[in-house]
């Protein structure tokens, strides 16, 4: 069965499996780039209300199904997969041409020496440039 994985994931995370959630999750599982609200809304066959979609994105993020990315464009983007723990953060590459956002797993370590008295909890890096498709 096609949705099997997605449905199982919802169950496992304690989320009710509604039509919208299954469609949304399935979409995330097949897309390899980060998705904005608009991307998602137009990808959903069964249109969801704006508030419903945003609330589901929040739920998915809370249980670690997706992580939210701020690419400095002013619109939040979301990608499949849990938000990484400190030390394992990945950078996000934003193409200045096609606007696509890529998760750059396994990149150089995100280590920074901060001045004494400062304590680092999380490092978020965004790299702007031109992607391989542009």
């Amino acid at each position: 069965m096609k949705n099997e994985n997605g449905v199982q994931l919802l169950e496992q995370k304690g989320l009710k499996k509604t039509k919208i959630r299954v469609a949304l999750l399935q979409h995330f599982m097949t897309m390899e780039h980060a998705q904005s609200y608009n991307d998602l809304q137009s990808a959903l066959v069964s249109e969801a209300d704006k508030s419903t979609l945003y609330r589901n994105l929040t739920s998915f993020e809370q249980v670690g199904i997706i992580h939210r990315i701020n690419d400095h464009s002013g619109v939040a983007k979301y990608a499949f997969g849990e938000s990484p723990m400190r030390g394992n953060e990945h950078a996000h590459f934003v193409c200045e041409c096609c606007e696509t956002v890529y998760c750059m797993d396994g990149l150089a370590p995100l280590q920074f020496e901060v001045p004494k008295g400062f304590k680092t909890n999380k490092v978020q890096t965004i790299i702007k440039g031109i992607c391989a498709h542009c």
Copy 2:
């Protein structure tokens, strides 16, 4: 004369020296942390209109008097000084307690290996944690 530096800077950048600009610039020169629109509005003695203030921030940024910082809070912040060139970017430290944004000059180099086909133009890093005052 007190404003001398600020006034000279405006002149040098080819910007007319209006009351608001002189006050704004002076404020930037004395603040060591990044300032949001609200910070600036309440700091200005001679209140400026919202659009005027935003337009001046844009002008200042364009000529390199200040640089804009996206700290992932949803509100832009601005700090004195030109936006650094590639290779000299500085990270921004955001205190999760007091929300203060610090420019971390002279921190570890911001180098990342990107996959082949990708070309890096700019690296923006934000470090979240607790600052020395909290």
